[in-house]
Symmetry: C2
Subunit: 189 residues, 2 copies
């Protein structure tokens, strides 16, 4: 099972067998049921997750109490409440498993320790940060520059698995539209 995580790492960086073993030894495995909340606002996020199977959702509550979904992560992706993980401040976000999910996780302390001892680990983290930054910025721009129809079409083109795999409620919350609007857009597409 750890094969998948080690393949992922070897695809991203040049790393010796010994270093891979060192990295893997710091990851633990956990299984969580659908809907399980892993991080809640007010907690400091101390773990980075690698998804072996399933899906994690990062979301927060608006002033009006509505759930606003910021990100979905699927198999072979890292995910966490990254702002809290970076800043050590309490999270404003929830991290939730939205399917029965199998995860590897590493503590923040061990993760930053790897940055000290394995220079290539910086490169792996850099790729993760670059991806997170690009995804988030494009998302911020889409909220300001695109209407609901255009946002839905963009999502369908760039990340169809979100639309296909996940319940309408979650997809609507990701697009910041009502479920009714989403159903209308889906039927027109």
């Amino acid at each position: 099972m750890r094969e998948r995580l080690s393949s992922y790492i070897r695809e991203k960086i040049i790393i010796s067998d010994e270093e891979v073993e060192q990295v893997l030894s710091l990851f633990k495995v956990m299984q969580v049921k659908k809907n399980k909340i892993l991080i809640s606002p007010g907690e400091t996020c101390q773990r980075l997750y690698f998804i072996y199977k399933g899906c994690l959702r990062i979301f927060f509550l608006t002033a009006g109490g509505t759930e606003a979904t910021r990100h979905f992560a699927f198999e072979n992706q890292f995910a966490t409440a990254l702002v809290s993980f970076i800043t050590n401040e309490t999270s404003k976000e929830f991290v939730q498993a939205i399917e029965d999910t199998i995860l590897y996780y590493i503590s923040q302390k061990d993760f930053y320790h790897l940055l000290q001892i394995i220079p290539q680990w910086e490169k792996l983290y850099r790729h993760y940060l670059e991806y997170a930054y690009v995804t988030n910025t494009n998302r911020l721009m889409s909220f300001i520059t695109l209407d609901a129809t255009a946002r839905y079409r963009q999502l369908l083109a760039q990340n169809p698995s979100i639309v296909m795999r996940l319940p309408n409620k979650m997809v609507a919350s990701y697009l910041n539209i009502s479920q009714e609007t989403l159903s209308r857009l889906k039927s027109k597409a």
Copy 2:
């Protein structure tokens, strides 16, 4: 004058004198007048800027043709159209000097070359990416969770120099509110 850039680097990472010289040799200096556009949509962003004096603004145009400001950077900060810099795709954003500005810049090619040859450069870039990610994500959340008044108060608390130093038109565009609303908020504060 290069003193400031070398101090900035030495504060962030552990680096030898020789490596600092190597880094500095890849930066060039330029002076630009207020309002000068450095990057326009459709161009690929090939440079990272370090601000010696002045201010850069990153903005884009909404579907309706309004300017939406995403970021301001001041003295001793790096700035660029970072999504384009990372992805090598054409920029959707403008980079503009909004005061008479003195910049150091490094080409994207040289910047990535430094990542290869100076391991600590990864750490400096990591800090920049972490900062950019945290800033952007908090901004995305503030648009969804806070109303105009709360966004203005947050800006005043976290980054007063934006409100004090820059013209109302720019500040309003950063908060995604009209200049009239901004004037009303300023007079109430």
